[in-house]
Symmetry: C2
Subunit: 248 residues, 2 copies
DNA sequence: CGTGGAGTTGACGTACGTCAATAACGGTGG
DNA sequence: CCACCGTTATTGACGTACGTCAACTCCACG
């Protein structure tokens, strides 16, 4: 079969990202594209796609929009443990596991492809590079998760927020979602607070400190980084954990 | 070939753990055992097995002893991002990646099996259940890493330390390393501080608070949990993320 | 005009970190 | 066996980066 121009551009982020992790054969990519097109779905902003404790019966690949993984404590305290950007998959990370250990919520309206478990299994059984690409994705995710641990455990508020902005920026870059030194930042300060382990009030003051120092502009849901190198310095940010540059 | 009794008991934790993640065929297990026996290594306490930035050219499976994954910031701040216990593998999580994003250090004398990259690749290429077991291990690791994020970001000191003790205890249980309500705790308070994102001083005070409340006894490198349920309550600990009970 | 979510600000409290001293411990050599 | 030493654990005094509470503003959307 052949894909329309519209289909191609819709599926582009996923193909681009997986291919960056592991080179995919043309057949593998075609099979994946076809499976994704069959399961296209939309969700509004602020919806839970799946919740902690839910059984995992499909893998979702995000085509547009932002999501987050989060966990909550009984008394309501909430921690966003990671973001999910276009091209990334939701729960391939869990397809071998019985139930979700965390929840996934949309932060914006989202388009994603849902691939049922059996379908996904036959996909990756049929092509080694595809299986490796998804495995690789979960390894990169693991590395990101480790960086978040040191971010939450050892960086002070200003470094923490600066680091988060650097990471978001660098993760959006390879999927073509930045323009110059700006990107959209479609989340509330409460989300940013939950991602950095801060209170909303202190997050707000920290953002203002970053603004006052001239490092960033954040308004109207757009983040502009005036001096990326300076922001990285302030954040003690070193991008190697993102594994963006593969040696082969 | 056949294994001696001593070999069997040495390799037991690894086989037990991988098998719990995914049932291994007898052939797969034999092949893995053989590969491990070929690459047996020992390391003393306090050694770095591999450092951030190093290329990954082999997978290590821990047979006895404790290790930790850690990251450091330029100015020396250090965060232990996870522990590694017998039966777990070190860098299968990274074998598809070019370089390490973190360091791995021994916390005690350690026996491990080193499997070279090419050897490991042919092992998992030859048996699907083995590949899945290792993938599964990295998924569980990912889930643990997420729990650490909420631990560092949203739990207060007492909950954090209590949670760490619960996690260690429950992870040691399936590899037969607890006795009654006790397990060894061969790490310094500085290590525990680096794992919980606290200062040594505050960690010490927190441990004493746990002692004073009668929840734990910690002395002579042994942790005794007087009332596990009470400790779990204090920690807001829910073990499902450890994926210890698989539905199949 | 309301209404509610998001952002912002001030006042104040506190859980943590830092610094520094001391005590307990474990190993080493005499 | 003891003297010595470095590492680890503990304690007190004090500082501070953060959280909490509460008010107020500013929109966006009815």
């Amino acid at each position: 079969m052949s894909l329309s121009i519209a289909d191609r551009s819709l599926l582009e982020p996923a193909a681009r990202r997986l291919n960056a992790l592991r080179p995919l054969s043309a057949e593998a990519r075609a099979a994946l594209d076809y499976a994704m097109l069959e399961g296209l779905q939309r969700a509004g902003s602020g919806e839970d796609l799946i919740s902690e404790g839910d059984p995992v019966d499909s893998v979702r690949v995000v085509l547009s929009g932002w999501l987050c993984r989060y966990k909550t404590l009984e008394d309501g305290r909430r921690q966003i443990v990671n973001f999910i950007f276009p091209g990334e998959s939701c729960d391939a990370h869990a397809y071998l596991l019985a139930v979700m250990d965390h929840s996934i919520a949309t932060l914006t309206p989202v388009v994603y492809a849902e691939i049922k478990r059996a379908r996904f299994e036959s996909l990756i059984a049929g092509d080694r590079s595809l299986a490796e690409a998804f495995w690789c994705e979960s390894l990169v995710n693991n590395a990101i998760q480790r960086e978040w641990a040191i971010n939450l455990g050892r960086r002070v508020a200003l470094e923490r927020v600066a680091h988060l902005f650097c990471e978001i920026f660098e993760r959006l870059r390879p999927v073509g979602m930045i323009e110059g030194n700006s990107c959209i930042m479609p989340v509330t300060q409460m989300d940013l607070a939950d991602a950095t382990g801060l209170s909303v009030v202190h997050l707000n003051r920290t953002v203002q400190e970053l603004r006052a120092s001239g490092l960033i502009v954040l308004r109207e849901r757009t983040l502009t980084i005036n001096d990326l190198d300076a922001l990285k310095d302030a954040a003690l940010f070193s991008p190697s954990y993102l594994q963006l540059y593969r040696s082969g």
